[in-house]
């Protein structure tokens, strides 16, 4: 057998298409596979006018992926992970919103689907490694032997935040060929390699909520499951005074300013969500400021574990520039305390806190 087979996770978008074309142009044996994760037709109300192309799993995107594979000249298969995706990603996403948290399904999907079930499938069809179109870099630390995750060279596209949960085994079997490129270079490469989707646009919405209306998704999903109605509740101020009624805590996220249905005479923000009582607390922007918080379900990448306080730069949501912080083990087992040097706005339960040393991911966890 010649060189080892690589499975490329193809979404039908430009990035993963370029990965497939690039590896093939380097004479590497490649098999393209598209993950069918969610049937958009299950909640047709969420498909925007003009279709849901560009959000994974639409028929258009499978069509595009297949067209790219045919044009590149590699074998191609659609693999169906819908059951696992619903169980591991969609249901917890809904449960998080109902519990007043703001989840990041992409990270869960990376941890449990793309770099788990897909990796398994790749191995089963004879591919020991997978390649994806993520903007991040993987390299092995020569001194420690650990697999490192680094930011993508194109910082505006960097996706390392969503990849902090990858284990050493997962990292060792994955490659991100676009991690060292700028998006413009990728587009140019797409043209050069005659990738048929070179001009395709993209969406940054969560793939299974094509119109971006998470609250509507949560409501429709629960309705279809025949589950409990979403709890109504009250918007209160920091003193507990009722200001307005609301249609359920799943409609709110910490830091949210729009759609609160209250007039305080000054800008009001969601500062806290209390799922048990259905209360959504609003207050001033200052009330959102916090310096210290805890994270759980940690995953370490550049270090084996955290034994002592460590200076890092912490990133607490995708659109956030990492800021200096100190992390240390918490008194609660399995948790870490994060203390920013300066207070930050809207530290949101359910989001991930990812720790960096420059462009190297130290590790991360979930904001409690």
């Amino acid at each position: 057998m010649a060189e080892e087979l690589i499975a490329v996770a193809m979404s039908g978008g430009v990035d993963s298409s370029v990965v497939a074309a690039l590896l093939h142009s380097e004479q590497r044996p490649v098999v393209g596979m598209t993950m069918q994760l969610w049937n958009q037709q299950r909640i047709p109300e969420l498909i925007p006018e003009g279709g849901a192309s560009g959000r994974c799993c639409s028929l258009d995107d499978v069509y595009d992926a297949r067209r790219v594979a045919q044009s590149v000249g590699i074998p191609f298969y659609v693999v169906n992970f819908e059951d696992r995706f619903e169980q591991e990603v969609v249901a917890p996403f809904v449960a998080d919103y109902v519990s007043g948290r703001t989840p990041i399904p992409c990270t869960i999907c990376n941890n449990l689907i793309k770099f788990d079930q897909f990796l398994d499938m790749a191995k089963q069809v004879g591919a020991e490694t997978i390649a994806t179109g993520h903007y991040a870099r993987i390299e092995q630390d020569a001194s420690t032997g650990r697999w490192l995750l680094r930011k993508g060279v194109d910082e505006s596209r960097d996706q390392s935040y969503f990849l902090f949960g990858l284990t050493q085994d997962q990292l060792s079997r994955s490659s991100f060929p676009l991690g060292g490129m700028q998006k413009d270079e990728v587009r140019a490469l797409a043209k050069k390699l005659n990738v048929p989707v070179a001009d395709k646009g993209e969406s940054r919405e969560i793939c299974f909520v094509p119109n971006g209306d998470y609250a509507q998704f949560v409501e429709k999903y629960l309705e279809q499951k025949g589950g409990e109605a979403v709890s109504q509740g009250v918007v209160v101020d920091s003193e507990g005074r009722a200001l307005a009624e609301h249609g359920g805590v799943h409609r709110f996220t910490v830091g949210q300013r729009k759609g609160l249905g209250v007039a305080l005479g000054k800008p009001a923000y969601v500062t806290e969500i209390r799922p048990a009582t259905g209360e959504v607390v609003v207050g001033s922007k200052e009330a959102l400021n916090k310096t210290i918080f805890e994270v759980d379900r940690l995953n370490w990448i550049s270090i084996a574990q955290l034994d002592a306080p460590l200076r890092v730069e912490a990133k607490i949501r995708y659109q956030f520039r990492p800021r200096s912080a100190t992390i240390r083990p918490s008194d609660t087992p399995g948790r870490v305390v994060v203390e920013f040097d300066a207070a930050q706005i809207a530290i949101t339960p359910g989001q991930a806190a990812v720790f960096y040393h420059g462009d190297v991911v130290v590790g991360g966890g979930w904001i409690v």
Partner: protein
């Protein structure tokens, strides 16, 4: 890479003899078979010759053959056409749980139109019980539709008995014979059918052509509109090259049926026995039932059909897991569930269907590769999933 095709129930390659027969219709005969002029008459001659060939194959009158675009259309036309043509108070249809989607989903459409449909279960044998048919029949039953041979298992249904039972209450009987054509003798009188579906591309004719047998005197309503072609039962300009191909394929099928059935059955049996003896924890679905000679459906305990299919394809062996139409969907094969397999068991099955082009060497090569692939997948199977 040399490739080996074990998916003849999905489709067959065009036989060279069929292609030769079609070439004049593609190159030289350009007329519309409904035109009055000589160009049209040339095309009409080809269509009617093909109709004779199809009628010989089915042992019926030429005027009882309606050419269509394929098996799906024939099933739609038979079921919708017969039910809609029936008197208003006959609003009940009987079919089985293991029909092809072309029948099941057409019945689903009838249900939306207010018709009651009973879907008869089958046991592990994959064969419908004649007693279940009798029990389901009512005075208002207008149609019974049961496939002659199942596409996934190859199981052969007792068509003649079912037809007689249906006729006893005055119901019409339709058989989808897409998977039996070319594999079993088809004689519409012996089978007792009123309506019977065949498809070109399962018998070495091209895709996009099929036929529906409609017994003389049986009324069906057309399901599409736009002309009076095919005795006003199927409007649309005739697909002359396709029809010629279907006719040639019918003739060829009659000629080689006996020899090929025996040859393929021996090859299939050898394939089956070798897998059962060489690979642990494997089983043949509906093994004890009468089956078409080319089909076997095998369970590989503890592994998933999807990676098995892909692994084999990457090595040049084309097989199928469940029916091709339901691949890509989450649901395991409705046929395998209907014969009592668990979802997990159903997902571990492969369908192998050989054909006229399959040689002993193809089977040998397949058997040389399969055990190692299965072993590798079993070694990788995630525990407890």
């Amino acid at each position: 890479m040399q490739r080996h095709y074990f998916d003849h129930n999905a489709t067959t390659p065009i036989d060279p003899q069929v292609l030769d027969a079609m070439m004049p219709a593609l190159r030289e005969v350009s007329g519309n078979a409904s035109s009055i002029h000589s160009f049209g008459q040339d095309a009409r001659l080809l269509v009617e010759s093909a109709r004779l060939q199809a009628a010989d194959f089915l042992r019926c009158e030429p005027k009882e053959v309606v050419f269509t675009s394929g098996g799906t259309e024939s099933d739609n036309l038979a079921i919708l056409g017969a039910v809609r043509a029936a008197a208003g108070d006959r609003k009940h249809v009987v079919t089985t749980a293991i029909e092809h989607p072309a029948v099941l989903q057409t019945c689903g459409q009838l249900e939306r139109e207010g018709v009651t449909v009973d879907y008869l279960p089958v046991g592990p044998s994959g064969v419908v019980d004649i007693a279940d048919v009798s029990a389901a029949l009512r005075p208002e039953t207008v149609l019974v539709s049961v496939m002659h041979a199942n596409n996934e298992l190859g199981t052969i249904q007792p068509i003649a008995e079912i037809a007689a039972t249906a006729h006893a209450v005055g119901a019409l009987f339709h058989a989808d014979a897409v998977q039996s054509a070319g594999k079993l003798p088809l004689d519409v009188d012996t089978l007792g059918v009123d309506l019977l579906t065949i498809s070109g591309h399962k018998i070495y004719a091209p895709k996009g052509v099929g036929a529906l047998y409609v017994r003389k005197g049986v009324e069906i309503e057309s399901i599409q509109f736009g002309g009076r072609h095919e005795r006003a039962r199927r409007p649309g300009t005739e697909n002359v090259p396709g029809i010629v191909g279907l006719g040639a394929a019918c003739e060829l099928a009659s000629q080689r049926l006996a020899v090929e059935s025996a040859r393929q059955a021996a090859l299939r049996d050898r394939l089956e026995q070798a897998i059962l003896s060489q690979i642990a924890n494997t089983w043949v679905n509906a093994a004890g039932s009468p089956r078409t000679p080319n089909t076997t459906n095998i369970g590989f305990g503890g592994i998933e059909g999807e990676p098995l299919l892909i692994s084999l394809d990457l090595k040049g062996f084309a097989v199928s897991s469940g029916a091709a139409c339901s691949s890509g969907a989450v649901e395991p094969s409705h046929v395998l569930l209907a014969i009592g397999l668990s979802r997990e068991q159903a997902r571990s099955c492969l369908r192998l269907s050989i054909g006229c082009g399959t040689a002993a060497e193809d089977v040998d090569r397949f058997l040389a590769v399969l055990p190692a692939v299965v072993e590798r997948l079993r070694a990788l199977a995630p525990a407890g999933r």
